[in-house]
Amino acid sequence: MLLPRNLKALCRLWVADRFMAELLQFVISGLTVGAVYALVALGFTLIYNATDVVNFAQGEFVMIGGMVSAFAYAAGVPLMFAAMLAIIVAIIVGLILYRFGIEPARGASSVVLIIITIGASIAMRGLAALVFDKQFHKLPAFSGEAAIRVLDASIVPQALWVLGGALVIVAALWLFLTRTLFGKAVLATAANRMAAQLVGVNTSFVMSFSFAASAAIGAIAGVLVTPITFTSYDVGTALALKGFAAAVLGGMGNPLGAVAGGLIIGLLEALGAGYVSSSYKDAIAFMVLIGVLMLMPGGLFGKAHTERV
């Protein structure tokens, strides 16, 4: 399914070796989880690029995506519309966050802005607990639950949706930022807000847009992953943590880096759990993270001089 036929035949020679099957299963697991982190990291990246804000409420967008679509679906709304509703709600929340949380504090130091987004994430969690509930919820998998066998390993179809979604979003984001005028305006705003304003970029609009788009990315991620990971009012924190780590590992502000960072952390966790110790698998990921930063202080794809703190 994943591999061309001749390669598949070649691989089949090794299938007898359980090692290969195990490795493949770990890699599949790592990529699936990593794609979730990557999607969260992408949201971080976009807002960071346009506004310099590290938005710790990014995980809450994922939560909103999951919760709204799960409740709408449970209420009988078709999945497609439930997903769209979730994205719209997330965009509205994102815009509100920008308008009433970030814009009034413009010019404040980055750590102050971080505390504002942490406050926002706490408030959003509290609100979600009130509006929804504190139980776990799910969405049906888009293409059924039956696992696909790949050379003795197995993958659930929804994982392909998540991976595909991450790819599509990063490609779209990349094209948008580099190929469209508006995308360039976003990058210009990131590089120098004042200069961007001078050349006629409506920076306030660019920044609102980045919040809306990040919220949408988060919500899409929420819809895509909920069939696998489920959702509840407080899934945001853990996701934000890993997403932030992924974004930084890849090089803060670089969309490709965000995806790479997410996949690497996911893979490290899965391989760590499979081969080393399941209790310390996160420790392995974090140690590698520290190690990489020691060698590359700007992350894998970051440039040292783009440092803006």
């Binding site: 949380g101 505390i115 406050g119 509290g126 780590a245 590992l249 140690m287 930063l293 020691m294 202080p297």
Partner: protein, 315 residues
């Protein structure tokens, strides 16, 4: 000079009042416990403020050092038969040593990269605490032996109110000493202009490391007090959320303000109790309060109030 001195003593007097007056007026161990917790976390936040507000470096992993102090106090006497005072000292020294070893390489990182590296460090520490069940009791936590001084067992909230209040007071004195010392000037200089500080002979790496180690020691001391106050500790004390809470205390109270750390700790500590009555909306309100404080007082509560007070006097 005189202004400096008067503001310094005013601050100390304020802290002394904040410790003594409620301590004499409150006779319920619940209030005394809330007070003690505020002092204890205020103490840790004070240390973190030296790092954030003066050395200009952020740490999202400081609860890890609280955990080291707390668990050393519990684990060493329980499993290794250490004298509890030796265990406390070892916890504090251990945290300082780890900060010293790890700080060297990671403080070369800047901004968000440093934030993530410290975050990872904190998580590693809390992971060890949760996973080494044999020694730490894992997620259930473990009992902490009671402190005995001259055959007198220090265990009530009242004891620890006064002890942690005293520790906080001394911590503030020490922090003020440090800030006004050559080391403090070097740190403040680094924060304002690293380049200029460098050309004056200040070794940035060395002073960031000093601030990191000092703040880790403060956190560990706070952890020791926390463990002894509670008599039972769980890995929550070292969790990522606790680290975030500390950073929040510092920023809300006012970075670079000695009193700020205490005010930040008091705000969060009292809010938790005030909002407990309305626990349906507790989280929501807490988040909104945090946002509002930061939007309307972006320098933090203490510096903003100081400015208001100062300008009123001037006019």
């Amino acid at each position: 000079m005189s202004r400096l001195l008067s503001s310094r003593y005013a601050a100390l007097m304020f802290v002394a009042l904040v410790v003594i007056v409620p301590g004499l007026m409150l006779n319920s161990s619940f209030y005394l416990r809330v007070g003690a917790l505020i002092f204890i976390f205020g103490f840790a936040a004070l240390g973190l403020n030296l790092l954030m507000g003066y050395a200009g470096q952020v740490s999202l992993g400081h609860a890890g050092f609280i955990g080291i102090g707390a668990y050393a106090t519990a684990v060493l006497p329980t499993h290794f038969g250490w004298n509890i005072f030796a265990a406390m000292a070892a916890g504090v020294a251990g945290a300082g040593l780890i900060a010293y070893i790890v700080g060297g390489p990671i403080l070369r990182l800047k901004g968000h990269y440093l934030a993530v590296a410290t975050l990872a460090l904190g998580i590693l520490i809390s992971m060890v605490i949760s996973n080494e069940v044999k020694y730490t009791g894992g997620p259930d936590g473990m009992a902490v032996p009671r402190l005995e001084v001259f055959g007198f067992r220090l265990r009530t909230a009242q004891h620890w109110y006064w002890i942690s209040g005293g520790v906080l007071f001394l911590g503030i004195v020490a922090a003020q000493n440090l800030i006004e010392s050559p080391t403090g000037r070097a740190l403040r200089a680094l924060h304002d202009s690293e380049v200029a500080a460098g050309t004056l002979g200040i070794d940035a790496a060395r002073y960031k490391l000093i601030a990191f180690v000092v703040s880790a020691v403060y956190a560990a001391i706070s952890g020791v007090c926390f463990a002894l106050l509670n008599g039972h500790i769980t890995p929550d004390s070292a969790s990522f959320l606790r680290s975030v809470e500390l950073v929040t205390m510092v920023v809300i109270g006012g970075m670079g303000s000695i009193l700020g750390a205490l005010v930040g700790a008091a705000l969060l500590g009292l809010l938790e109790q005030l909002l407990a009555q309305f626990h349906e909306v507790e989280t929501l309100i807490l988040g909104l309060v945090m946002m509002a404080v930061m939007i309307f007082m972006r320098d933090g509560i203490v510096p903003t109030l100081q400015r208001l007070l100062f300008s009123r006097r001037a006019s």
